[in-house]
Symmetry: C2
Subunit: 205 residues, 2 copies
Amino acid sequence: MPAPVERAHSHGAEAVRGPDPRAVRSRAAALAAARELLVEQGLPGVTHVAVAARSGIGRTTLYRHWPDTAAMLKDAIAELLDTAQPEPTGELRADLLALLQGTRELLHQSASERAMRTFIERSGVDPSFTDLKHAMYRAGTAGFRRVLADAKERGDLPAALDIGPAVDQLVGPLFFRRLLGDQEIAPEYVRDTVDTFLRCYGAGG
Amino acid sequence: MPAPVERAHSHGAEAVRGPDPRAVRSRAAALAAARELLVEQGLPGVTHVAVAARSGIGRTTLYRHWPDTAAMLKDAIAELLDTAQPEPTGELRADLLALLQGTRELLHQSASERAMRTFIERSGVDPSFTDLKHAMYRAGTAGFRRVLADAKERGDLPAALDIGPAVDQLVGPLFFRRLLGDQEIAPEYVRDTVDTFLRCYGAGG
């Protein structure tokens, strides 16, 4: 996850007394405007001019924080990914349910769903989205990788479990059902996916 | 899967003596041109004018067969989906391996991969792609649903197995790894995914 813009751009004084509250409010307003524009108008609608008009933040400030649209969307979506990944409790089933519930929400929230659909299409076509997409992928799977690695250490999952494919097994079905099948994902679907995973991969499996 | 254009537009005589071989060749040339243009230029490049220029087929003929780009791409990709779904042998593991290997190829062939990325983005934005996307989804999962249903009848899979989520469990990981993670999928990954599925869902599971 990238450091917040304030810290990335912080001066010595700010580093001591923390980010300027006005800067924090401005940043939040700009990123909210970027998400709204993405949902309403798609990628072409997310311009510095439009975000400035929508948020009331000056274009110079926007350009200083985010040189291009990809950088702006990266921070705009990173905030959603953060909230979708609660702190682990150490109880494997509860932690996987919470994470996969967060994945379900990302796939049904208009801003994050539209962003994922857009990034999937841009990939391999628009190089300015390559880093963004990889950062989103790493951030979006970090919570799962951490919970699975901790469970292996505790012995709740086999030490030989390959974490990459295990993450695919957990989240892949939801992405396929939503992004390819355009179907609603029921809460029971999340629960069944976690329980199937634990039955197959659990220390017993 | 939609009937081939010749049959959809067939006259009585054709229905008897089969489609005109020249019409079949023209159709194949037009659809190949549409796939090439999609890969080279993306969706905006797939126009009747460009397909006519690339394939040498008259625009009037193209418009008669495919009133819009979505209809043309639907047939262009349907051909790839067909070849990716071999006839079942009745041996569950072999049939799932063959189908998932076909899925892996679709995710790595430039035309089908680009088409899937494009359809995912267009979904919910461009209504002309809604039917296309749903037809692709049904066609792309038909082979899996058939093989799983037959295996349930034979008793090779539990009678209670819910086929929709089972298909998601098989193909979802590959779609997530390729379209979100932008990673290459190794043949071993396909084999491991099938064997994990059989271990979890097999009649023993």
